[in-house]
């Protein structure tokens, strides 16, 4: 039935055409190489930039940055899938860089316009999810692990077992609420790769988490650090930076990547196709990669920077903090997620629906 006439009904085509007209009326994207107005539209995670970075960028270049915030990668993807609503720089995580690139909504980045790229650690200048870093450049990286209150556990935590397969801390544990995160870490606990495509592995995860559910207090929408701080839970599955921020406020808490390994991720700076100010976007990325600017950002958000020059400017409590920069043997056991196609995505979502409905 996928005939020509049906294809004309495709909603995307309809929306693409209308949004192209809208874009033509407002942004003149094809005149971009001429003089650009001094504006930049930046789409970022919350609390994910230095406190004065955008103001400093304005006083240095005269470019006014309008920053919008998204709460999760899906929000970012949903907003851009029907055509770019006018963003110049976005901050997707590695698996979404791959997905967006497959969907053809990212613009190639011109490395020649970013001389500060020389500050970035060589390890980050190539990646499986974007060979040659054609469409993405590294912003921050980190791990997914366990944050916990040292005073309220019998022995230091070192395994996903306490969260996935144990009643020892019944009612005092939280997992994240993102389907993929919960399922990927369960795969690591069982001993599979988190990039498995085998439906039997997902079945094992489903049984494991359903059996454990009675002991889990909540699937937390990325607020594990608040749950820990308010003593709602004692052990939380969380991103390292969130726990590192909490640790700077209270030494009762600590962070660990379990012995089975966790997830290693990288948030990237990308320019979506149809960006109204691509020149400013390159200028902004170059500015963020400056050593001093990078140091200010890293110091305020407490995530690991790939910017070696910036890291060198910061104190030992940042640069040698194992919660931010885990030791090499821990990193060796971590995996990063790959985009494995829509079918695997659907298995993950269906597994999650069944877990929550049981």
């Amino acid at each position: 039935m996928a005939s020509r006439s049906n294809h004309d009904l495709s909603r995307r085509h309809f929306l693409k055409n209308t949004s192209a007209i809208a874009a033509g009326l407002t942004f003149h994207p094809f005149k971009a190489t001429a003089k650009e107005e001094k504006r930049l539209n930046f789409y970022n995670w919350d609390t994910y930039i230095g406190e004065t970075t955008l103001d400093d960028f304005k006083s240095k270049t005269g470019i006014v940055t309008q920053m919008d915030l998204f709460a999760d990668s899906d929000e970012l993807f949903t907003k851009l899938r029907e055509g770019n609503p006018g963003y110049d720089v976005i901050v997707p995580a590695n698996d979404y860089v791959e997905r967006m690139n497959v969907a053809g909504i990212l613009m190639p980045i011109d490395h020649d316009k970013i001389p500060n790229l020389s500050n970035i650690n060589k390890l980050f200048l190539d990646a499986d999810f974007d060979p040659g870093r054609k469409v993405s450049l590294p912003y921050m990286w980190g791990t997914l692990g366990i944050g916990y209150n040292k005073g309220n556990v019998s022995t230091p935590i070192n395994s996903w077992k306490v969260l996935y397969d144990s009643d020892e801390y019944s009612g005092r544990i939280s997992l994240l609420s993102e389907s993929a995160d919960v399922i990927h870490m369960a795969l690591k606990y069982i001993g599979h790769s988190l990039n498995t495509t085998n439906p039997a592995h997902f079945k094992q995860v489903e049984e494991l988490v359903i059996a454990q559910k009675q002991h889990i207090k909540v699937f937390a929408p990325d607020n594990g650090q608040d749950l820990l701080a308010s003593s709602e839970v004692d052990i939380a599955q969380e991103w390292n930076g969130d726990i590192a921020q909490l640790m700077t406020e209270d030494d009762a808490f600590t962070y660990v990547v379990p012995k089975e390994g966790g997830l290693i991720w990288q948030d990237c700076l990308c320019v979506p196709k149809g960006a109204p100010h691509p020149e400013n976007a390159h200028a902004f990325i170059n500015y963020v990669f400056d050593a001093d600017v990078g140091a200010e950002i890293a110091n305020s958000i407490q995530y690991a920077t790939p910017n070696e020059a910036a890291r060198g400017k910061l104190g030992d409590d940042y640069k040698l903090n194992p919660a931010i920069f885990p030791p090499d043997e821990v990193i060796a056991k971590c995996e990063s997620t790959l985009y494995l196609g829509e079918e695997v995505q659907r298995i993950i979502e269906d597994t999650w629906t069944r877990i929550k409905a049981s």
């Binding site: 949903t78 609420s177 979502e349 409905a357």
Partner: protein, 305 residues
């Protein structure tokens, strides 16, 4: 009454804006969603309309029907709670002195001036283990325990060794409490409007003729305000059925409602056709509820005849 054809310009100026609005911003988008529910996903962002029934066949699988059933009973319970709380409130406001009425109504509408998300986060601070309710209870416990010690009964520890906080957050209780809290104004206002229109002499007549207060309430007041009650019930039940923010923020590991599943289809699952089919399935459930309502009204008018 004049025929509308005699004053066409009046008719057009009155009805055109509403009709255009309804068509452009409700019926047309709804049509898009309906068409999409017969589509198939190709690759990551392409959707091709193939008129496949598969999305609906998947939507009536037992797991989704189970989730819809859970959403229906949570919504029904919330509606019943709202009704029980709001009828006395509406009654009190309606029988208050005239100078107090605007102030009392203002107090009822006041929560609307604050964003839903902020009210929900405030509820987290109220319900959590180290939250205001448990702090209050702990304070009472300490005072009571101190009292027992004072009268020499301290060693028996009647109240337990230590205060045990109540688990009020992250379970179905918090979802039901949160939804009830948010939707109460929707049901108070229509009932209040009906009570205002109620001719007080009916109540006096009923009492004069020897009916008790309770009898008057159930035989006179409730039947005469029934249209307001039904309107309020619908205004609460339908948005409740599709809610997803409150179960997301206040719910525990089991508190998944159909709204959450639909939201995920449009976000992390990236399966818009299936999400569209689920939305329409939910809409058919709502039509069912509304049809039941008009069926009841018809039966009633037949009974009267």
């Amino acid at each position: 009454m004049n025929n509308w054809k005699d004053s066409k310009s009046v008719f057009i100026t009155t009805f055109l804006p509403g009709t255009v609005w309804l068509t452009a911003f409700f019926l047309v988008p709804l049509g898009f969603v309906w068409v999409m529910s017969f589509g198939e996903k190709y690759g990551i962002i392409d959707i091709v309309i193939t008129w496949t029934p598969n999305n609906y066949l998947r939507a009536v699988e037992s797991i989704y029907l189970g989730i819809i059933w859970k959403s229906v009973w949570i919504s029904a319970l919330v509606t019943a709670l709202c009704l029980m709380v709001s009828f006395p409130i509406a009654f009190a406001v309606s029988f208050a002195k005239d100078k107090w009425k605007p102030i009392l109504l203002l107090i009822i509408i006041l929560p609307f001036w604050i964003n839903l998300l902020i009210r929900t986060y405030a509820l987290i601070a109220v319900f959590r283990t180290r939250g205001h309710v448990n702090f209050g209870l702990e304070w009472l416990w300490e005072k009571a325990n101190a009292g027992l010690i004072l009268i020499g009964l301290g060693k028996h520890q009647f109240l337990g060794e230590k205060f045990q906080p109540l688990a009020m957050l992250y379970n179905d209780f918090s979802v039901i409490a949160g939804l009830t809290y948010v939707y109460i104004p929707f049901i108070v206002l229509p009932i209040y409007a009906m009570l205002e229109r109620l001719d007080r002499s009916y109540i006096e007549a009923s009492l004069d003729l020897g009916a008790s207060q309770i009898r008057t309430l159930f035989s006179i007041v409730i039947p005469l305000t029934l249209p307001g009650i039904i309107a309020g019930v619908i205004l609460v039940f339908i948005p409740c059925l599709g809610s997803f923010v409150i179960p997301d923020l206040l719910g525990g590991t089991n508190s998944q409602m159909i709204g959450n599943v639909i939201e995920r289809q449009f976000k992390s699952a990236n399966d818009w056709p299936f999400g569209a089919a689920l939305s329409f399935l939910l809409m058919y459930v709502m039509f069912g509820v509304l049809a039941m309502r008009s069926l009841l009204t018809v039966r009633k008018s037949e009974m009267k005849v």
